[in-house]
């Protein structure tokens, strides 16, 4: 009762990084509240994963082990999560803001009539006084997230309904194994009464997992290189910055035509249109054909030796300098300043 739940996401028999990150955060929250941290795992042959979950702070590992839970399908996972939450009454339940978490956590919240805050960037325990009723709460979960296209940061609370539910994107929280983990207690979920036949009505008829493919359209951070990068060799730097920032590599047509990088990365009128949170244009002059495909980016940083390059007209920050000189500095100072 009143514990902290973390839903553990399994991909190909591996625990998703975001789930370990949530356990680390969940451990911290549970310590603050003086309660237990409980992991919930649904899948096939998943019990072997329990020690790993204990290592990241889980006191209890709830398991539902059956082939109906793998691969993930919305309804069986929803049914079991709702059933277990009703049975155990946690005060907090956390999910990864992954395609899986974002698919079924809203359903769980809808079924329980409890609020769910998407894509939190910070979670802390704090007090709250309801401005209308004057009612005071001493330990609510502050769910902090950017909103309105990233122009505001909102702190959300869920005073009355339980559990307080939130999703968090991968890589937002840090993950840290405990120095001296306790042996987690493994418990079986009595799931059979929770799952109805109709929960199995959606069938997966084909599944195709791709090798990590280039996905610039969905990337929230894009580091794009232009003709000014100079060479295929120079593009390695662009890749390096993208890797460090957790972003994807894009390119202008001139860079693709010059053979510096693959065609799939081309952004602009004849390529892909992107709207990332951050677009770093490296050695891109900024012809309209290119900017048409990226001027919806929330923030644009340009690196160019020419201070009069057209890209600077739409950039938020225009760095005058060469790509070889500026990118290593960005990498260095990002590493020094990020957690």
């Amino acid at each position: 009762m009143n514990n902290v739940f973390v839903y553990i996401e399994i991909e190909e028999q591996q625990i998703a990084d975001v789930s370990l990150e949530l356990l680390t955060k969940g451990r911290e929250l549970a310590n603050t509240l003086g309660v237990k941290l409980e992991a919930v795992v649904l899948g096939k042959n998943i019990k072997a994963l329990a020690p790993e979950l204990a290592k990241y702070g889980a006191d209890t590992v709830w398991c539902a082990d059956d082939e109906i839970f793998a691969p993930f399908r919305t309804l069986p996972h929803t049914a079991v999560m709702v059933g277990l939450i009703k049975q155990e009454k946690p005060q907090i339940a956390l999910f990864g803001a992954t395609p899986v978490g974002r698919d079924f956590a809203p359903r769980v919240s809808s079924a329980l009539h409890s609020g769910l805050t998407a894509d939190c960037t910070e979670l802390v325990i704090g007090e709250h006084k309801d401005p209308k009723s004057g009612k005071e709460y001493d330990s609510l979960l502050y769910q902090i997230r950017p909103a309105f296209g990233g122009n505001i940061i909102a702190t959300i609370v869920n005073p009355e309904c339980r559990p307080q539910m939130a999703t968090v994107r991968e890589g937002v929280m840090r993950k840290e194994a405990l120095a001296t983990p306790a042996a987690g207690e493994v418990r079986d979920i009595d799931w059979k009464p929770m799952v109805k036949d109709t929960d199995l009505a959606v069938r997966i008829v084909e599944r195709h997992i791709e090798e990590r493919k280039i996905n610039i359209k969905g990337a929230s951070i894009i580091v794009a290189g232009g003709y000014g990068v100079g060479s295929k060799e120079g593009f390695k730097l662009v890749h390096e910055l993208a890797d460090v920032l957790g972003g994807e590599v894009g390119a202008s047509r001139a860079a693709v035509d010059a053979g510096f990088t693959e065609h799939e990365r081309q952004i602009g009128q004849t390529g892909v249109t992107v709207r990332p949170k951050l677009y770093i244009a490296c050695g891109i002059s900024g012809q309209i054909q290119h900017t048409a495909g990226m001027d919806g980016s929330a923030m644009i940083v340009s690196i160019n030796t020419d201070p009069a390059a057209p890209i600077n007209k739409i950039a938020d920050y225009a760095i005058t300098g060469s790509v070889e000189e500026v990118i290593p500095k960005m990498i260095k100072y990002y590493k020094q300043n990020s957690k």
């Binding site: 991909e11 691969p71 309804l75 992954t98 395609p99 899986v100 698919d103 079924f104 359903r107 919240s109 809808s110 409890s114 609020g115 769910l116 805050t117 998407a118 960037t121 909103a147 309105f148 296209g149 990233g150 122009n151 505001i152 940061i153 909102a154 702190t155 959300i156 609370v157 869920n158 009505a201 959606v202 069938r203 997966i204 008829v205 599944r207 195709h208 997992i209 791709e210 493919k213 951070i221 709207r275 919806g296 929330a298 923030m299 690196i303 201070p307 600077n312 938020d316 920050y317 225009a318 760095i319 005058t320 300098g321 500095k329 960005m330 100072y333 990002y334 300043n337 990020s338 957690k339």
Partner: protein, 282 residues
Amino acid sequence: MAKQVPDTRNVGKDAMTPEGTVNRAALAAIFNPEDLNALEMALQMKDQIANATVYVLTMGPQRAADIIREAMFRGADGGYLLSGREFAGSDTLATSYALSCALRKINPDIIVAGRQAIDGDTAQVGPQVAEKLNLPQVTYAEELVAIKEGEITIKRRLERGTEVVVSPLPAVITVNSSAKECRPRNAKRVMKFKYALATSEMAAADQKAQSFIEERPYLHIVEFSAADVNPDPEQLGLAGSPTKVKKIENVVFQAKEAKSLTGEDKEIEALMQELIASHTLG
């Protein structure tokens, strides 16, 4: 289901007031982009099924009728506007409750919606509506593979890959931006539907416009008030929203006027610190 949203992607210089709050009036109100992908998928279903109709349901103020007209220009048969003060302050749960009440009344065979709206990015309303109506859901739909009586086959995007699923109908489908783009306006349809009005717009229009629409029922956009959809008032609006906004902080808004930086260490370090602090990075 579709939503009219402020265009948060094209934030201009006047998008923030001098006090640093969001100036909603300066942001264009647009058809939520992924709802257009959803409209296209719905229209594809209509293309494949004889006598099928596509209606757009939106919740919002009177001006949200604009997106219903837009959908009609592109191929929708009509729409429903769910509007009223009772809905103000709704979080995703109260919104999906209100929409589910309207959907109970409309009783469609398939509900298609965009994956998420750009002003909230939560992707919650589709699945929450599905749960309220006790229907299966298929999220991140990318391609309509097949549709027949009582069953739909959809190719959906996974984090890394795709999956083809078969779902019984009725169901809720949410559509990704990677799905086919919406067909453009059709000139004939624009001519046909440009005088379409929602009930409250009709009431404010002149006699001539009113009788024009009364003679042409297809131009009437049905408007539902809260009372029309028989909700439990406790589950509507602010009262029906479990989540409360405790605090709002404005991110320092960067107007599109480039700050010039040199490549010096100090400036690059300050930039990286700022990008981290504003949650643009990390």
